[in-house]
Symmetry: C2
Subunit: 411 residues, 2 copies
């Protein structure tokens, strides 16, 4: 027998299941493997031997999984100890892999997941194992190094852009001066917030202002910027990153603990914080809107480009394993912006984990309140294309995840 | 000349422009009218004579307006004084209508808008004017009396249901016990929150709990309900209305003023409030998500049924005016649930304004933490059907609103 394991880890995205489908299809079409084990809840599922077999899924089921949001196999936030700290975990995992005749392990995830798979590859080499270990990138935050961009980012950006345009319509209807603050995910990198610029068109300049974590945030400059925009319009919409930091590198959202009427301590996001600032200092109506988890799970607005790339990254990961490679992550190398073209290559896992790729300072304007055309050219092709979702009785049809939620369903 | 005026008022929805298209098409196809004036910013646009002419719009432009979110003509929150209070406003409006040879006035909006058009009809009768006044209903809250449901509600419900299902996937991935609270609009009526029940399917019971403003909210019962659900699942998702009220009829969100790190007073929503309650009292991870204005402007997820009905309500409003009627609102009378069938009729404006239609108590379970099958049967057909939106470079194409935002665009 010659089996593989695939698992998913880290925060959900709308593209991580397309990569899963890529791995499954890659394994089946290669003819080189027998069973495709899906490990439930990431690496925890390996330790607990919670596997489901995926090689029997029909094309129709795979198509449905392809467009299903979040992790079909579940996820975990398990931090692997270093080999020096606790080699027994590694011994246990390799014993399980060998007993299940697994010859290749594919881990789809972000930064922490690449750390896990990198350590497994390293341990494998140290004991002379010939099991292959490969990472497939994933994160809406787009902050992984060594790849032009990450699966999940394009779809999240597309949802943010569509929402921002819809906000532009929504906020345009009254003549009263109003400021609307849209809080967007990305704690350490402003890629998603920057993408909001794509919502601008021939009749709308919204968002007029964009603030990223890459530039220290000044309250005074922020208020001045809004005052300036209000000279020419009553309707100001601002894209702000959840990860905004002050001049001392402290998160704006970090120390806003307050007490509510039950006497409970309450942490508020940066949007609420700046909403209050605008109300008090400028005396205008202000509303903050947190797009929140919708941006990472709104599969009904996924980018076709993103899902295609995500699948290909999974498929190619299998191809490289068959060629004998181990310890790599598949990557996207962009070769042209217009027409948009790219190739799938690999990078050593060594140099990827525990690094953060931020928006280059030169893609942000000098005032730090908008992005440049380079940023727009970069993100534009990544939102191309719509994905056909099946609907039943007006509700999207996604893949059955009762292997994750069985307890709830049969209660 | 024989002209009409159409205007939009109240909060934005994704269906109010379909009603506008209905009025325009109804007027043009009747052959009975010359010009179709669109009044900008509701009744304020009449007072300021801010009109745009709509009779020249092409079919392609009308199709685009049909699927465009928010009010194409802008909106206002103008409260008409009573005729006794200030008849000069009425004299001014009628002078403007007569000078512009307007013989019919159509006002698309919610409760307050029906109050405005009702007063105008009443004044018209009192002075023997033969100008017709008609209301076309609109509100995502679905709280207007005299109509089975309101335009905008079905689309908002559809977005909420799709999002809730996507949340069900998103929240299923970890094994850690988690409570997610989804805050949904509807300050005085729980229709939208109740709709979340449609997200349940063969593999998901989410949302397991639903709380509406129609039932007094008890913190203790709420915590007990969550404890009970957690006996069978780690993943609890709860739909809560923004309008939840305690036993004394006080809004839970009303008195949560707190102070942030800038020393600013801060009002928090009911979601944040209950998030803190769950964290402190149950000691589990809890996140609150406010769907916020997306539920009223996410036109990319509009209900085809909703838009069709909205258009028809506008078209029929014109037909009834031509027949000589005045002082009415067009209404939806449901004749069958399955297959879903309805007729468009009218109701006197008199009995509509300043009333609120709530979810019947018998459509809520006795514990007050879920809805019954009657509620589900009621809302189910209203989310049927998807709307084709045009996309350009991956971004939805909506109607140009530079007549509203011109200042901003040309700055």
């Amino acid at each position: 027998m010659n089996n593989i394991i695939v698992a998913q880890s880290g925060g959900p995205t709308t593209a991580i299941n397309a990569s899963l489908v890529g791995v499954i299809k890659g394994a089946l079409s290669s003819g080189g493997y027998d069973k495709v084990f899906g490990s439930l809840y990431g690496i925890s599922g390996v330790l607990n031997e919670e596997f489901i077999e995926l090689e029997g899924l029909s094309d129709k089921e795979l198509d449905c999984i392809y467009t299903t949001p979040s992790s079909y196999l579940g996820s975990c936030r398990y931090k692997m100890p270093s080999i020096e700290e606790d080699s027994s975990i590694y011994e246990k995992i390799f014993e399980i892999l060998q007993r299940n005749e697994v010859t290749a392990f594919f881990y789809i995830g972000g930064n922490d997941s690449m750390d896990t798979i990198s350590k497994l590859a390293e341990y494998g080499s140290s004991i002379g194992s010939d099991i292959r270990f490969a990472g497939v990138p994933k994160t809406i935050d787009n902050d992984l190094v060594s790849t032009d961009h990450t699966p999940g980012f394009g779809s999240a950006a597309k949802f943010i852009v569509a929402s921002m345009l819809e906000f532009a319509h929504d906020t345009s209807v009254y003549q009263t001066p109003t400021v609307t603050l849209i809080e967007i995910m990305g704690r350490n990198a402003g890629w998603l917030t920057a993408s909001a610029a794509l919502a601008r068109n021939e009749y709308s300049e919204i968002p007029q202002l964009i603030y990223l974590p890459e530039v220290p945030f000044s309250q005074d400059a922020f208020l001045d910027d809004i005052r300036e925009v209000m000279k020419t319009t009553n309707n100001v919409v601002v894209a702000i990153s959840e990860g905004l930091q002050d001049e001392n590198g402290e998160y704006l959202s970090a120390t806003t603990a307050t007490e509510d009427k039950f006497g409970h301590s309450q942490l508020s996001g940066v949007g609420k914080l700046l909403e209050n600032l605008v109300k008090e200092e400028l005396g205008v109506k202000c509303r903050s809107v947190e797009i929140n988890i919708l941006q990472r799970c709104a599969a009904h607005m996924a980018s076709a480009t993103d899902l295609e790339e995500s699948e290909l990254l999974g498929e190619k990961a299998v191809e490289y394993a068959i060629q004998g490679k181990t310890g790599y992550m598949t990557t996207i190398v962009r070769t042209s912006n217009e027409p948009y073209e790219y190739e799938i290559e690999t990078a050593d896992l060594d140099g990827i984990a525990n690094q953060v790729k931020q928006v280059p300072r030169e893609w942000i304007n000098s005032a730090g309140n908008d992005v440049t055309s380079e940023m727009i050219d970069y993100v534009k092709p990544l939102v191309y294309g719509e994905v056909d979702i099946e609907y039943k009785d007006g509700v999207p049809v996604y893949a059955d995840i009762s292997h994750l939620t069985g307890a709830a369903c049969h209660a």
